[in-house]
Symmetry: C2
């Protein structure tokens, strides 16, 4: 059914989707576009895409499914620019890490019988560094691919079929799909994805300033330190738009953790420390 | 040279030392003792020890080297109890995670020509759960085994030779040894080991209370969440004595992280967020 896919943005996620589609047996065409030419050339050389598009809008127009795999504000730009040129024979979907803003734009500009479909998506998979060269056909295997679709969407039969087809391709890439309300999505990922990232960033930055120069540091840190700071390598460019589009939920989560750390600090020698370990143990057991 | 070793405490570390000694070709005797009988029987069944001692003090008396692999306050108890019964033909060493208190006790009660030697040690290796059943002959391979020995120690030639022999066995188990001043040790591990643990505990406890009941949680959390909360499974029993014997350094580290998180929270939409990511990136690059 789906035979022509455009991937706009061939970074880690876009390139991995191309590779995963091929690994899953997808035999249609995959055209790619990237803001920087080297990323597109790398994705082409890796076989993630068949050809490089000069113009992303033309590439979308010539495809049935367009996957937006760019930062969140660029995703919002493309949603605006593609809406007037695409029609009911098209589907646009994305991989953005926050979904309220993106889903609102999609609902406003897509998903009527005369317009293209927009399906907001978010694969819970990634790496602490980006770039086509890290693209991985197995990145989505065993992961959950979240959707925050509008249950009220009134789509043309063509684009409704494309939505169904894209969900099947996501399953073929090895992901389990799960549907969430967009506000619930942003709240949940603030806790389980954004908070862990910002904690790792703050911890890594603090350790850099406190012990970054210690000659014994490289030796002394073991697996625990490596794990707790791995996400510290994540670049600002991957997180700026997330921080800006999920600010309130992330603020609440950070504030709650600050209070929790203060409570633990004040109880290093009291029985309340045991309670804190017990609650933490439950999180890992369940 | 070393032919009789006693391991007091056959939990994860004690059992792993027994297994690693055997894997390194140590052919002498290894007697084990454990507060709970099942742990000693498990270590025996795994081949980490040759026999189980009924009395830990008698086992130490009959050995050349006694390894204390029990919690810190129990280590301090054994240091006190063994000092009057051992002599210059003995070495006592340990694996405790804080070293100032233990090293002070060792210096006070050991390390004269008439007394046994005490060598304070701390292998930077472990798991988030304890127990003989998790014992692993490769646990110390590639890790650093810290020593905070007293440079002024005046030992008998016999016990000095045992210190040298134990350091060689540690190297044979695959660890690199590193000597630190005990106060410097406790300061450094507060940052690179204790802070990461308490952060993981606080984060896990917070997530348990905020989203522990969310049905989507198991699906949504990926590798990043698993890594950032793995240490949340660590039991209170492993960390109580560490919190109590390195309180001030851990308090300083936690307080500094609280401030760092507040700074990040207040700058989710400002250019200061970029600076924080840049400093964190440097920690992972260097």
């Amino acid at each position: 059914m789906i035979e022509r896919i455009a991937i706009l943005g061939t970074g880690l996620l876009g390139t991995s989707v191309g590779l995963a589609l091929r690994a899953a047996g997808f035999t249609g065409s995959i055209v790619g576009w990237n803001r920087g030419a080297p990323g597109a050339q790398r994705a082409l050389a890796m076989g993630a895409i068949d050809s490089i598009a000069a113009d992303p809008l033309q590439a979308a127009l010539a495809s049935q499914v367009t996957l937006l795999a760019v930062p969140i504000y660029s995703t919002l730009d493309f949603i605006e620019k593609l809406a007037p040129i695409l029609g009911p024979e098209h589907l646009v979907t994305d991989v953005g890490s926050t979904k309220r803003t993106i889903t609102e734009a999609g609902t406003r500009l897509y998903n009527t019988p005369e317009r293209a479909a927009f399906l907001p998506g978010h694969p819970m998979a990634g790496k602490e560094r980006g770039g086509a060269e890290l693209g991985d056909a197995d990145l989505f295997r065993g992961a959950v691919w979240l959707f925050t679709d509008d249950p009220e969407a009134k789509r043309s039969p063509q684009s409704a079929a494309l939505v169904k087809g894209w969900r099947e391709l996501v399953a073929a890439m090895g992901s389990k799909t799960l549907d969430l309300d967009p506000a619930r999505h942003d709240e949940l990922v603030a806790w389980v994805s954004h908070l862990p990232q910002f904690v790792a960033t703050a911890l890594s930055a603090l350790l850099q300033e406190e012990v970054g120069d210690a000659p014994e540091l490289k030796d002394v840190g073991g697996r625990a330190l490596r794990e707790m700071t791995r996400l510290g390598a994540s670049p600002y460019s991957m997180w700026r738009d997330i921080a800006a589009t999920n600010t309130e939920a992330v603020e609440r989560a950070l504030d709650a953790l600050e209070q929790r750390l203060a409570h633990l600090r004040e109880n290093l020698r009291t029985p309340a420390l045991r309670d804190e370990f017990d609650v933490a143990n439950r999180f890992r057991r369940e």
